[in-house]
């Protein structure tokens, strides 16, 4: 399905006619589908990794999302932007993962240590970044605190918070993605922010 690297770079360098690509992919053009995937897959993976904090689960979300797009592309009727449609699929799959995780009562990267809950990903990323041991400890505690606070949010609060705070998406778009109103997304963001702030009060 995927072309050789040179061909891909050349293809990607051409201006993107998204509607044309979608129509071509709907007619079975595999190269067009590949270009659509490559246009969005980095941000899809980033969102999944950041919401779930688990590379393994993010990999599953990536597969599930793009397979869903592949299977249902013919039902895409240009009622909304492709970007919104795709992100709606991705956020719904992430929400399902978070809900299943809540049911299993486990967090994939947040682990209990004698110093409290620590985010494994944040820890790995952060350790080489600073040489000051005090700063390192503080950063580790802060990352652990952030992981713990995020893990305590409901799946919906967590998704809204991630998309607004870390992805910088507008609440109107987020509401559209998760199937709710802008006002409901705003209330959800407010609750999430309050809970996060309360959990991290000692660092402020």
């Amino acid at each position: 399905m995927f072309q050789a690297a040179e061909t891909v770079s050349r293809t990607l360098a051409e201006p993107l006619d998204e509607s044309g690509l979608i129509r071509a992919a709907q007619n079975g053009d595999q190269d067009a589908f590949e270009r659509l995937v490559r246009e969005y897959d980095q941000s899809v993976l980033r969102i999944a990794v950041n919401i779930l904090r688990s590379p393994d689960e993010a990999r599953d979300v990536y597969q599930e999302a793009f397979l869903k797009v592949y299977r249902n592309l013919n039902s895409f009727r240009f009622d909304c932007s492709f970007h919104t449609w795709l992100y709606r699929i991705v956020t719904n799959i992430c929400l399902d993962h978070l809900r299943r995780r809540k049911v299993r009562k486990e967090e994939s990267t947040a682990v209990e240590t004698p110093d409290g809950v620590v985010d494994r990903i944040a820890q790995v990323k952060e350790e080489g970044a600073h040489s000051d041991p005090e700063r390192q400890t503080w950063n580790r505690e802060l990352s652990g605190g952030i992981a713990k606070a995020l893990a305590a949010l409901t799946p919906r609060e967590r998704t809204v918070f991630e998309l607004r705070h870390y992805e910088g998406l507008r609440l109107r778009a987020i509401g559209d993605m998760i199937g709710t109103t802008e006002e409901a997304a705003k209330n959800c963001l407010f609750r999430a922010t309050q809970k996060m702030r309360m959990s991290l009060e000692t660092f402020v």
């Binding site: 993976l45 590379p55 597969q63 049911v103 802060l142 952030i146 922010t193 309360m198 402020v204």
Partner: protein, 315 residues
Amino acid sequence: MNCAEATQEIPNYCYGEVSSEIEEAVESHVAVCENCRTELARHRKFLELLEERDSVSDAGLLVQCRNDLSRSIRQEAAVNAGRSRSWRGWQRAMEQLRGLSQVHIPFRVPVGAMALVALGFIAARYTPEKFGGVRAALAEPMFSSVRSVEPNASGQVQIAVDETRRHMVSGTLQDPQIQELLVSGVTDGSNPNVRLQSIQVLHQASSANSADSDAVRQALLGALEHDSVASVRLKALDGLKQFSGDVSVRVALANVLQKDQDAAVRAKAIELLAVHTDGSLVGVLQNVVQKEENPYVRAQIAQVLAQLKASVGTY
């Protein structure tokens, strides 16, 4: 705008997610109020702190994902090609079956009967059936066994088959049978996801006044009191919000507050209890706040007590 209103708006103001009127009101207020100016600065600092969480960028992961997707799509294409082959095979089998009934052989009648049985069985598997306004498609039988075979003189054969099969049932939320199945789903002991989904859909149905609210309330109360999974109990609480003025619901909420092991469930129960104020609420909250171990829940109870102008202690 007063201090309480400004504090309420500051989080969304910092995200630029308030109307221009509110934005101006917040700015005018913080210009003259030192406390709120400090609060705004603290909230901005909190938001900056959140940036300390590094995002994960793993180029290897993206390559793995792309390879996985490529493989999955190839497999999917192969399966689709296989399905169309199966359909052609089915058409061929039907043609052979039609040919069989025209062949003159001494035991033609019993063979014809077997063909009818086979056709009936296949039709049952592939034909959607309708009952009580609910549309149900029969999927593959999960288990079947022949209980008895009784041929008769006219060449017909009566065969009793026991089957356990999975039905795909679909219908609107107004459909009583769908509602009944959803209420059963709430108590499904084996699968918490089914319980969660059932509660969520019942909640929607009940909010839209399309379900029997008494049955829904009973199902949700049962889940709240007996479900072992906290997220299911939380979902039940979401559904019970619309019944939060009901006495039986308030009694259940007070029980949750005293007995539930999960802090998030207790916190949610307080939210629901606080929607309506009655004489017993202050006593219940004052009693619980002394025993509450979780600081967030304790603060929440104290906040509700403050709104009710009651003290935290019972004295």
